[in-house]
Structures are given as structure tokens and as C-alpha cells.
Amino acid sequence: MEYFLQQLINGIALGSIYGLIAIGYTMVYGIIGMINFAHGDVFMVGAFIALISFLGLMAVGVTFVPLALILVLVVAMLLTSAWGWTIERVAYRPLRSSFRLAPLITAIGMSIALQNFMQVAQGARVKPLQPVITGRFEMFAGDNFAVTLSNIQILIVVTTIVLMAVFWLIIDRTSLGRSLRACEQDRMMAALCGVNVDRTISLTFVMGAALAAVAGLLYLLYYGVIDFFIGFIVGIKAFTAAVLGGIGSLPGAMLGGLIIGLIETFWSAYFTIEYKDVAAFSMLALVLIFFPSGLLGRPEVEKV
């Protein structure tokens, strides 16, 4: 029982990170119907920016952890957003009226370009960061196993909840969010209502990238090591999460992220760690057989 609880905690923390990234996939798909395969690498770029910012702050002697965290968060979100904006602007927008596969192929190209850029710029070796957030507390001790909750896990879950709440408020309650949803439902009609569609699409990439940057920071803090290749596997998992939850659905992305995180953690804990990815992807296949549009996705029928 204690072991189970511990794995549940670990799974939720991991799933939160996947969920934050999955939002970026699902939003971009919702608004322009394209899978942004470079999004996982945007997450990787975010993690690197966070790492570099931490090292920079340490070099100038900022040692007060909360201050450092907030500074790194802001810097990572801003710079990664700029990356997201630029990628859309140079790689996707010129192809928007092209045939459907063109942006997909460019996205894969963009993903490879980002990976290689980071490999050349930062080196191929794994980059460590000394633990920034330490400490954990024991929730309760069983017979031979103590369930512990680390501060970093608390930070991950709290940050995710806060961000999701803010994000949901923006999408559901503000004029900006309404314009975004309008573009998702009928881009031409949104333009007829006076929505600057290009700017709204840019904004989608910016918001997705900002969330990916937060995920990158949390990943860095949680695992303590990153390399130029983390965007690939984590990105694929987050994409799986988005599809599992129903691509285009924001709550679906979060739910999908949690499910993938939990499956992976529990499979590693109770079965074999080598097959954790197989388990996660098998679950995707199973869910899609019974819910072709994902758990919270809507079926592709429109009343006309």
C-alpha cells in the first residue's frame, strides 16, 4: 500500500510535466490542424535556457532559491516563447496555405534542426545541475517503507495546477480566449468578426512554448540532468498524452498527461522498467480502439 502511494505521487509529478507539454500539441492542433513535431524540442530548448539561467545566476551570486527560481522561470518562459513565435513565423506560416503534409514535414525538419543546433551549441554530453530544491518529508511510515513527498514534487504539482487554472481562465473567460476558440472553430468567420487570425495563431505558439518552458524547468529540477535529445522521447510521450486525452481538448491533454505518467511509473514499479514505454504506447492503442477520438475528444461530426 505504501509502495503504491509512493508510485502514485511519482506518477502524478511526471504526468504533470507531460500534461504541460501536451497542452502545446493540442492547442496548435486545435487551431491549425497540424501536429507540431518540433514542440518536444521547444521543451528541450526551454530546459536548456533554464539550465543556463541557473548557472548564470549562480555565477553572479544569486543564491536565494525562490528568487533564483522566479527569475529563471521568467527568463525561460520569455526566451522559449520567442523561439516558439519564431518557429511559427519562419517555418509554418509560409506553408499555411500549402498542402496538408507540408507543415508536418517542416515540423519534423524543425525538430531535427533544433536538436542539432543544441547539440552543436551546448555539446552532446549530459548536462547536470546540482540539486536546487532539496528536502522531502515523510508522510507516513509503513512497516518497511516510508512514503515521502519531496519538495520538488510539491512544486511541480502546485505549479501545474496554478498554470492550468490561469490558462483555463484565459481561454474560457477572456476576450482573447474567445478569439482563440473562434479561430479554432471557424478561422474565416473569426476574421469576419475582426479577429487577426495570424496574430492569434502566433499567440497559440507563444503560449504553448511558455508552458513547455515551465515543463522544461520542472524537468530539469526533477531529474537534475538534461541533454539535447530529451525533447524527442518526452515530446512523443506528451504527444501521446494529447492524443489519448483527445487531441484539440485542453482538459484532455492534462488528463492524458497524468494517465501516461501514471502508467509509466506503475509499470516501472511493478513490472519491468525496460518496457515502460511499450506500456504507455500500448495503452494509447487500446484507448484509440474504443475511443477513436480520445477520452475527452469530440467525434468529428458537425451539425450543419
Binding site: Q185, M189, A190, A191, L192, G194, V197
Partner: protein
């Protein structure tokens, strides 16, 4: 004579290499209802959409209040306070009725008037008030049409473009919608109306255009067109018998 609010001259537009509009000349004067009638595929909707640059005109000019809006992007045209209730209604199905109306307010210059405007459209279409928290996709066709018009009105438009507001609606609803258009015009709103329902449209319009294969073949006042042989033969008495055509026949006999 009042000045032209919208002035289209020599407009050529089409999809890819297929031209649809072959040099359209048309003007809508301040305060009037202008109607364009024509058969399916004549290019009426293409004309309405090419005002917003979709498809982009390859020749010709579109002037609005004397300003050239031909090359503006769609949202910038809308911000000139040209509101359209487009063909197929195109309401946002997964938003509530109220949110759809709020989408209409983006082009409104006076945001303080929101409550008044809302009250006004609810007065015009009371059924929308009772459904304001319902998802727009669940409305009936007639209600969706009312919503599309109401959404356009929320922007305090200078010019209202209505594309086939009677398409697929029961005669009673059609009459309601045309009555609403008339009421709006009496309040001073300028309307450009595209219709297959020639009888209703021309009865309402002070100025009408007949469009055939991407060209304006005939223009004149609404009553002139209603009485012209060409219009009666092609749009009022010919083809399948529709309620409006029947009405027109009765009108012609009387």
C-alpha cells in the same frame, strides 16, 4: 441623393485559375437596402467574400466610405465596421449564444454600448434571449440564422452584409427575418442582401442587381426589377414552385 457607402468597380475574382466574378460594378448608398439576386453558382457568395479578400480580387477596386479597402486583410475590412452574416450562418457551434454575440462586438467602436446592443438584438430576436447560455450548435436552423444576424449587429456596423438569410428556413421564419431586416433599415442601417428568394429580397430593396455567371446583367430599383420580364421569367415564375414564387404569381395576377 445620398452618397455611396460601398462602391465596387470592375471587380474580378476567382478560385485558382477559375474566375468567378468577371468585372462587377455595384454601389450601395448610405441608408438603403441593396439586393443581389441570382441563381446558384452565379457568384453572389464569392462577391460577398471577396469584399473581405477571400478570394483576393485580381482586378478592380472596392471603396468603403471613399477609402480603398481592396487589399486589406479580412479582419481589417471587418474593423471598418462591415459586418457579415455569411452563407451557411457559420456561427461558432461550441460557444454559447452569448459568446457568439460577444464575438460580434470586437469591431464595435463603442464598447460602452454593449448592454444596449445586447438588449436591442434580444428585442429583435427574443428567442435568442431565452437560449443565451445554450451552445449555439444546438440551435435550430432559423435560430442559428437569427444568431448570425444578431452577431453581426453587435458590432454596430456601418454596413451589414447578409448572405442568403432565408436559405433552408420555413416560410414563417423567413418572414420574421425579413421583417427584422426591414426594421433595422428603418433605424438607419445600410444593408447589402444576397438572396435566391428574389421576391422577398426585391420587395424589400430600394435597389437591386441581377447576377448571372459572375456578371451583373440588370440593375434598377427593387420595384422596377420585380416588374421586369427577365426577372419574372428567370427568378419568380420559372423553376420549381416555392412559396415565394407562388406569392409572386398571385401578386402578378392581382
Amino acid at each position: 441623393m445620398s452618397k455611396a457607402l460601398l462602391e465596387i468597380s470592375g471587380l474580378v475574382a476567382g478560385y485558382g485559375h477559375l474566375p468567378v466574378l468577371h468585372g462587377i460594378d455595384l454601389s450601395v448608398k448610405e441608408g438603403e437596402i441593396a439586393a443581389i439576386i441570382g441563381a446558384n453558382g452565379a457568384g453572389k457568395t464569392t462577391l460577398m467574400m471577396s469584399i473581405f479578400g477571400n478570394p483576393k480580387p485580381s482586378a478592380g477596386r472596392i471603396l468603403f466610405e471613399g477609402r480603398d479597402i481592396t487589399d486589406l486583410p479580412a479582419h481589417a475590412v471587418a474593423l471598418e465596421r462591415i459586418a457579415q452574416s455569411p452563407e451557411g450562418r457559420r456561427i461558432f457551434p461550441r460557444m454559447t449564444v452569448l459568446e457568439n454575440l460577444q464575438m460580434g462586438t470586437l469591431i464595435a467602436p463603442d464598447k460602452e454600448r454593449y448592454e444596449d446592443d445586447l438588449g436591442h438584438v434580444f428585442e429583435l430576436f427574443p428567442v435568442l434571449a431565452t437560449r443565451k447560455d445554450q451552445r449555439a450548435g444546438t440551435l435550430s436552423g432559423g435560430e442559428q440564422q437569427m444568431l448570425a444576424i444578431a452577431r453581426a449587429l453587435m458590432g454596430q456596423p456601418r454596413l451589414l452584409l447578409l448572405d442568403e438569410p432565408s436559405l433552408g428556413l420555413a416560410p414563417l421564419i423567413t418572414r420574421q427575418i425579413f421583417a427584422a431586416i426591414k426594421a433595422l433599415n428603418e433605424e438607419g442601417l445600410t444593408v447589402l442582401l444576397v438572396e435566391q428568394n428574389a421576391y422577398h429580397a426585391l420587395k424589400l430593396a430600394s435597389c437591386g442587381y441581377v447576377m448571372v455567371n459572375g456578371r451583373i446583367t440588370l440593375s434598377g430599383s427593387g420595384t422596377e426589377l420585380l416588374e421586369s420580364d427577365e426577372v419574372r421569367r428567370s427568378y419568380l415564375e420559372g423553376g420549381a414552385s416555392s412559396p415565394s414564387a407562388d406569392e409572386a404569381k398571385k401578386g402578378a395576377k392581382a
